[in-house]
Amino acid sequence: MNLWLDRLFTYRQLAVGLVIILAIVLLGLVGPLFVDVGGAKVGVEIPDLTPSLEHPLGTDTVGRDLLAVIIVGTPQTLTIGLIAGVIGLGIGTVFGFVSGYYGGYADTLLRGAADVFLTVPGLLILVVIASSTKGAVNVQTEALVVSALAWMWPTRTIRSQVLTMRERSYIRVARFSGTSDPRIIVEEMMPNLLPYLAAGFVGSVATAILASIGLEALGLGPQNQPTLGMTIYWGLYYTTVMRGLVWWWLPPIVIIVLIFVGLFSISAGLDKIINPRLRSTT
């Protein structure tokens, strides 16, 4: 028991981060049991109500119960992050391994592409892409658009890890044991890269969510879905700040901040696993 508490304390950042994200996920999963999510549709409720027992966060100008909006919108924002994160990590892993292990032309090409995309202002590209597909945007397509930004960092991180690993003796020993190159990547390198892959995933998700909120706040998101970013957009559209409608514009921001605090804590916690030197001495 002592060992577990001790472990928990050492990795408290990771634990805290996981708890926060878990809580937010639960909000979306368990919320519908307590709150009528039908209220998130346009025109269902009486518009512009201040917070009351029936509508704890009031309603917006087009008749949506804001609490229901948060409960429905949060999982959507998380989904965007998840899809884009998975795609970003998937591409990043493949590119990173190929680039790092094989080197040569593949490396120059992939690394160059990643570098170029990293330096180009991502949001501008997304704005261009999103505005050209404006009418047809839904949560899934937005996720795809955003994942265009999510693959570069994993590619670079994984590539540098692979470069280091490639020179390790145990990789050479594996070659002398007759293991083929693809199997070396999967069997020998991948397991040791799991913390980096996890960290890359978290980073991708964070980037994706941030980008999606940015896009949505500019009005380029799915118009009919009450994602967190869209709620902010509508909040701006209906000048809620000036009108002092705190219960409208504040909750999505709080949730977003919590998501990022959670993701950051997870990332810092993973850092500690990867780099034992960051662990405090007992």
Binding site: R172, V173, F176, P191
Partner: protein, 340 residues
């Protein structure tokens, strides 16, 4: 006698190039060696840092490609080999690395390092046979399977890990093992056991060994023939008894004389040694003896052309103009002076 692994006039230059960041260094210069595994032999390659011995190890193992010259196995360069031939090479030539910590994938138990070659080279047909093979190999190097199998690398000592590596090499039954500083990171009391295992591999299993090290004493103890490298070239080579007990090359003499003897009555030879100020590696002139800057016997011709291998004894060659006048040996067949 079929030549098995051969380095033919191999030169390796690092750095340089059009966008080169580092200064060009010639790690190995015009090196040739033929390692024949019939009859099984133990050859030591001795050199200090910057001598090119690590580069040579990597070249012989096919981990890097030479800048000039070629490394040939069974008559074919690595590039020219088919997939099948390459696999045969990976089976016939095994390696033991210096670092017993780095040679293990920390994710897996130590069994992994033994099981992989068995699986890849199809050395056993069933799981039970596979385990039996692993146990036999471990016992052959003096380890108890019950104490080693099923453990993670960090649970074993450096000496045990290195012995497992020897067991692994034995398992594959190669024709040649290239051991790159296998005992330098192991404690003195455990070194002997590992070296003993290597000798067993050679005497009982007929495996040839190329033992690469900076430690002249262990090289002397284990090998029949020795090659002394300095600055990327051979300075002296031949029967280990001759080279060590009666060194003829000034560098070999300096090297042997600098080895501290554990017997306090045998003092370090008192000859003062010129201090080496050629700090970082350089692209020394192609046409000079590498040792000329430090050699107490340097003559003008030493700076002009690198001396060839003069055969001063039946089983020894020296690359030094002090011994001019005796027949010259072609570097390619240097191994012909070796004791068999």
């Amino acid at each position: 006698m079929t030549a098995v692994l051969e380095a033919r006039h191999v030169t390796k230059i690092y750095g340089g190039g059009f966008f080169g960041r580092r200064r060009r260094t010639r790690a190995l210069h015009d090196f040739s060696l033929r390692v024949d595994t019939d009859p099984p032999s133990i050859t030591a390659i001795v050199g200090e840092s910057g001598s090119g011995k690590t580069t040579l190890a990597h070249l012989l193992l096919g981990l890097i490609a030479p800048t000039l010259g070629e490394v040939v196995y069974q008559g074919k360069t690595f590039r020219a080999m088919s997939g099948e031939e390459r696999r045969a090479f990976r089976r016939d030539v095994q390696v033991i690395f210096q670092d017993p910590y780095d040679a293990y994938n920390p994710f897996y138990k130590v069994d992994h390092v033994l099981a992989k070659p068995i699986a890849n080279f199809q050395l056993a047909t069933s799981r039970r046979d596979s385990v039996k093979l692993m146990e036999e190999a471990l016992e052959a190097v003096g380890l108890r399977p019950a104490d080693t199998l099923g453990r993670y690398p960090h649970q074993l000592s450096g000496g045990q890990r290195q012995r497992i590596m020897v067991a692994r090499a034995l398992l594959v039954k190669p024709r040649l093992i290239i051991a790159d500083e296998p005992v330098s990171m192991v404690d003195a009391s455990l070194r002997a056991t590992i070296l003993g295992s290597l000798r067993t591999l050679n005497q009982d299993f007929g495996i040839s060994i190329v033992y690469i090290t900076h430690d002249v004493t262990t090289a002397y103890q284990i090998s029949q023939n020795i090659i002394v490298l300095y600055g990327g070239s051979v300075s002296e080579a031949g029967d280990v008894e001759l080279v060590i007990q009666q060194p003829k090359h000034p560098y070999t003499q300096l090297l042997i004389g600098s080895i501290p003897s554990p017997n306090p009555r045998h003092h370090w030879k008192s000859r003062a040694v010129p201090f080496d100020t050629s700090a970082v590696g350089s692209l020394s002139s192609n046409g000079s003896c590498k040792f000329v800057a430090r050699c107490p016997f340097a003559m003008p011709r030493c700076s002009q052309l690198h001396p060839p291998l003069f055969q001063t004894d039946e089983h020894r060659v020296v690359a030094c103009y002090l011994h001019d006048g005796v027949p010259i040996t072609d570097a390619r067949v240097m191994d012909e002076v070796f004791v068999r």
